[in-house]
């Protein structure tokens, strides 16, 4: 079970959270300006990296807030968590991703 540091509440066990998919996939400001291909990319195309992944979690059984987590998909190591809307911290990929 992961131990996830909620930026609002601190470290809590994974069962208090719900996964929210890849982070930093912003909804286009004017969806009608996108052609089908660009819109489909927004809807469906996601990264699936081996290594560091920026992803959304919601502290659903806590403060209820969505926030972002940098997690290594190989080691499950969490290197950073930050509030929704904040930029992704500039961290190098971990050794596990090699």
């Amino acid at each position: 079970m992961l131990l996830i540091p909620c930026p609002h509440c601190g470290e809590r066990p994974e069962i208090e959270f719900r996964y929210g998919g890849e982070a930093h996939v912003a909804r286009p400001a004017d969806p009608s300006a996108l052609d089908d291909e660009a819109w489909a990319a927004y809807l469906y195309l996601r990264n699936n990296p081996k290594g560091l992944h920026a992803e959304r979690w919601r502290h659903i059984h806590g403060c209820g807030r969505y926030f972002n987590v940098l997690r290594d998909t190989v080691s499950d190591k969490i290197t950073a968590t930050y509030k929704a809307g904040e930029p992704r911290p500039d961290l190098p990929a971990t050794e596990a991703a090699e």
Partner: protein
């Protein structure tokens, strides 16, 4: 009853406390401190099981969790029966009832043993190769037969009578295993005040030291050092000792699963005691001191009862005071084997010969054996054994310089000991995703790079000597104390005296001079995988050990390869002429030993399996005989049968009452969300397809919510309570999903909107009053609201009081009748319901359930999201195109609706179906075709989504999703059923009051 193999003295058993037990119906005796295995051995009982495939007689092989043969079912009755327990791990208690498994009709005469004679027809992959065709035979012939023959234990037939608990805990340091390294690690880790938990799967702490009778530690016998150390640890308030506790799984971020056995060792446990406790532990640092397991030797006929691991026989003698035999032969490839031979000789076992695979055994231990007068035959292998239900002799062959077997002789024995090497228990380390490294000296994998905050100490990382293991424990313990900021200074070291084992081991099959094509040298005992099977798999092209494992089933038995994996790797590497690391290593998965379902379930059984949600009005419905149905976690009144009515009769009566007079329905389970704030209307505009800005306070609108991909996600009536306040309703099942969807957009896409969302599902009880008499019923109960048709039209909402209680009164209808939904605070729900019901009796009020609600809405062609829609329907598909605010610039899902795909005329569209026979009720889910004579597979146009008999119309009705359905109105289509084809006419989906005049009554 005398136990002829019990030594006159010695061991850690309590001879003052004799115990009785039965095995396969026969009575035996033992002592407190015995295991089932040690007690059986004291009576000379080795034969305890039959192997999986060949049904060969098998005996007790080990003294621990790695036991592959002696699997037993234990339990007085079916409510407390556990199969597949390992006899060396079953603690004896008075009255224990155990039975062997995988034999029929009895252990000593087993019909399945004919498989052994036909063994050459059962090679590796036999099942895959033979039972391939026909497919049907698998279900009806092969699989049941194979299962009956295999019979790995039987599941109990009655519900588990025991109780299980679960605990969460945190500590600075978890030490797994209380052998020499673990005790030392716990001492050092706790010296400076760090909170330390020490767990061990056995009843007594000490691990391998419990079998040690000659070594001294700190100047005292090992047993005394254990007692002193445990006393010291027990005296520290910062230390928690958990005996009978298996650390079975290592999960991310140092979370460890432990299972503590609380009552299995007791003859008459206190009825309040739980049987097991599951610990979910979070440790800042973990020290794994899991020890090592001895490897058997792989040689022909190495599986007869009486053939045993050398260390196990030593444990039975030293710890339990039991001789595993009278006349022993040792087949070893390492010095450790001599330790057992020496101790057994001291206990009075005649050691007839020591066959050492190595040409020049010359360490301290072989020297001691030579000094004791034991017959050491260096450079010797075992080429076969004799005996049927018990080994009676071993054939020893001298190896020449060329490695070929030369002269051989057969030596009589009733005990054949094996010692191939030690395999560190790296299971937990590997589960933690640590990287393993192959150590050429000990020919085993040891921990390499760590992934978690853990470290290993002692034998589980290949540090085997007693002195070295204790020192490693101290050092690692000091490290973790430092790491958690609770260093206690250097621990005083202890002096250790014992005979040292020199390096040198063997991996894989031993050489022999028998016919390799017929002889069976077992690698995986339980699954009957032989060296020949592994070699065959490599000849058939298998290269990866993961594939070989699945093809031959080696390592897939209940011991999960604890006994077999390393020898299998050695044999495969030999056959492929490659190094062991190139072969790969199978994954170590939790649990280390099987864990009961009860421990995982804990208290989540029966009534507590899932929460039950009940509305405020539930008790009234129950009192009035409602039949309930499950809707998500809710219990909803399904229908209210009267005087022995079945569901159809009750629903017919309820439907007619609503259309003719008035009905009352508990709609409290509707999801409700309060949306408040200056930007509430703007937020609604973005979340729903409809336009909200112009909706006046006091008016309602039916809202449709889409996912961003354009598909219908939820619907419900929304009331505007004030300029900045909306009362949103959702489907019963969709409430949490809708709120999460809204929060997602609000928090992450539009944090600038000043809006607050609150779930109010549980706060409001909702009483639907529907039917032509609805107003007459409510009018006298409502205060300060004018509910006349002129003052309060359809789709309006008012706030006031009813029966003296505050209410949000909606004029809405899901029946097509004049209708109201009375929202009151949930605490008043039942009182208001009862008052309305009483007032309604004069007007023919009838309580109705969800089934009637479904029929009435289907008569009106109202959809249910999740019934008419399946996650691929856009609003227009289900006739809701009118609810889409096309003038709005944007809303969730709008861009997707612009895709050309969604305006194709051949999309599945919602229509009604009318059968020719009014009493033909179609099956929901039935497929619809244009040509019923087309051969299978037919071209399917769609499916029936809702279907009922309408008592009001005296005709069946059905709603369907049909390709290009709206253009087919008037056409005849067909619904093929197994016994006939039903012709249907495509019609408009509104079957009743198409003009909607009744709504506005």
């Amino acid at each position: 009853m005398s136990a002829p193999f019990r030594l006159a003295q010695g061991g850690r058993i309590d001879r003052a406390r004799p115990l009785g037990f039965t095995f396969d119906g026969k009575s035996y005796s033992g002592f407190a401190g015995d295991t089932l295995a040690s007690a059986l051995l004291s009576h000379g009982v080795h034969l305890t099981g039959r192997s999986f495939k060949y049904h060969r007689p098998r005996g007790i092989l080990s003294a621990g969790a790695d036991e592959p043969n002696a699997l037993v079912g234990v339990g007085r009755d079916q409510t407390r029966y556990t199969p597949n327990l390992r006899a060396p791990q079953v603690e004896l208690y008075d009255g224990l009832v155990a039975e062997s498994q995988n034999r029929w009709p009895s252990l000593s005469f087993d019909i399945g043993a004919v498989n052994d004679l036909f063994g050459r027809f059962l090679p590796a992959g036999f099942y895959y190769k033979t039972f391939m065709w026909p497919r049907k035979a698998w279900d009806h012939v092969y699989e049941p037969k194979i299962r009956a023959m295999a019979g790995l234990g039987r599941a109990p037939t009655a519900a588990d009578a025991d109780r299980y608990t679960q605990r969460y805990a945190h500590c600075d340091v978890l030490v797994v295993g209380a052998g020499p390294a673990g005790l030392a690690a716990a001492l050092a880790a706790s010296a400076g005040g760090a909170s330390v938990m020490l767990c061990d799967d056995q009843a007594e702490f000490g691990g391998s030291l419990l079998s040690e009778t000659t070594a001294t530690i700190d100047g005292k016998p090992a047993a005394q050092w254990i007692a002193d150390t445990v006393a010291t640890l027990r005296g520290r308030a910062n230390v928690m000792l958990l005996g009978r506790t298996q650390a079975f799984g290592y999960y991310p971020h140092n979370s460890i699963g432990l299972v503590e056995r609380l009552t299995d060792h007791l003859a008459t446990p206190h009825p309040d005691m739980p049987r097991e406790r599951l610990w979910t532990l979070r440790a800042r640092e973990v020290v794994i001191c899991a020890g090592a397991l001895e490897r058997p030797m792989v040689f022909p006929e190495n599986d007869r009862p009486g053939i045993m691991l050398a260390g196990a026989a030593r444990t039975y003698a030293n710890r339990y005071g039991v001789k595993a035999g009278s006349r022993a032969v040792l087949f070893t490839a390492q010095d450790e084997g001599y330790r057992a031979a020496l101790d057994l000789a001291r206990a009075g076992v005649h050691v007839a010969a020591i066959a050492d695979l190595r040409p020049n055994p010359d360490g301290e231990l072989p020297a001691a054996a030579r000094a004791a007068g034991l017959n050491i035959m260096a450079g010797t292998t075992v080429t076969g054994t004799r005996g049927r239900l018990r080994v009676s002799g071993a054939t020893l062959g001298r190896l020449g310089l060329d490695g070929q077997v030369g002269q051989s002789q057969t030596i009589a024995c009733d005990l054949l000991l094996m010692s191939g090497g030690m395999t560190p228990s790296v299971h937990l380390f590997s589960q933690s995703k640590g990287k393993l490294r192959f150590d050429e000296t000990i020919k085993a994998y040891v921990p390499g790079q760590s992934a978690e905050r853990e470290r290993s100490a002692g034998a589980c990382r290949g540090i085997f000597g007693l002195a070295a293991a204790i020192e490693d424990g101290f050092a690692r313990g000091e490290e973790v104390a430092q790491a958690v900021g609770r260093a206690g200074g250097a621990v005083t070291r202890v002096a250790v005296t014992t005979l040292a084992a020199a390096p040198g081991v063997h991996l894989g099959a031993a050489p022999h001079d028998r016919d390799a094509a017929t002889v069976k040298a077992f690698v995986d005992y339980q699954n009957d995988v032989t060296a020949k099977d592994l070699a065959l798999a490599t000849r058939e092209g298998f290269r990866s050990i993961e594939h070989i494992k699945r093809y031959t089933t080696t390592g897939m038995a209940t011991d999960q390869g604890k006994m077999s994996n390393m020898n299998a790797l050695g044999i495969v590497a030999d056959a492929l002429r490659r190094d062991i690391p190139e072969i790969g290593l199978t994954t170590f998965r939790p649990p280390y030993t099987p864990v009961t379902f009860g421990a995982f379930a804990g208290t989540s059984r029966g009534q507590l399996f899932d929460p039950v949600r009940q509305t405020a009005i539930h008790g009234w419905a129950a009192d009035h005989g409602a039949a309930f149905e499950d809707v998500g976690l809710w219990k909803r009144a399904h229908y209210f049968p009267q005087g022995g009515e079945d569901m159809h009769a009750a629903v017919a009566r309820e439907c007619k009452a609503v259309r003719a007079a008035v009905g009352i329905f508990d709609a409290s389970t509707l999801g409700k969300i309060e949306i408040v704030g200056p930007d509430a209307a703007e937020f609604m505009n973005r979340m729903y397809t409809n336009a909200w800005t112009k909706l006046e306070s006091g008016r309602c609108r039916y809202g449709v919510m889409l996912r961003e991909d354009g598909f219908v996600m939820d619907d419900g009536v929304v009331g505007r309570m004030a300029h900045d306040r909306f009362h949103v309703t959702t489907t019963t099942g969709g409430a949490p999903r809708v709120l999460a969807h809204m929060e997602d957009y609000l928090q992450t896409e539009w944090p600038d909107l000043d809006v607050w969302l609150t779930s109010t599902t549980e706060q409001w009880a909702v009483i639907a009053v529907q039917g032509p008499n609805a107003r007459k019923v409510l009018e006298p109960l409502v205060e300060d609201i004018d509910i006349s048709a002129a003052a309060m039209p359809h789709m309006s909402v008012r706030q006031g009081r009813i029966c003296g209680v505050p209410t949000r009164l909606f004029r809405v209808s899901f029946t097509g009748e004049l209708g109201f939904e009375v929202n009151v605070p949930a605490d008043y729900g039942r009182a208001v319901w009862e008052a309305i019901y009483q007032a309604g009796l004069a007007h023919g009020i009838t309580p109705y359930g969800t089934e009637t609600m479904h029929v009435l809405r289907a008569e009106k062609g109202y959809i249910i999201v999740g019934q008419e829609t399946d996650g691929t329907a856009v609003p227009d598909d289900v006739g809701l195109g009118w609810a889409v605010g096309k003038a709005k610039k944007d809303f969730v899902g709008k861009r997707s609706l612009a895709r050309a795909e969604f305006s194709k005329p051949d999309r599945k569209q919602m229509v009604g179906l009318r059968t020719r026979d009014p009493h033909d009720v179609l099956e929901e889910g039935a497929q619809i075709v244009a040509n019923p004579n087309q051969p299978v597979p037919m071209t399917v146009l769609g499916q029936v989504t809702s279907s009922y008999f309408s008592a009001v119309l005296d005709h069946s009705i059905a709603i369907a999703m049909v390709r290009g359905g709206r253009a087919r109105i008037g056409e005849t289509l067909y619904v093929p059923m197994p016994d006939r084809v039903i012709a249907v006419t495509v019609v408009d989906p509104v079957f009743f009051d198409r003009e909607g005049v009744r709504l506005d009554a």
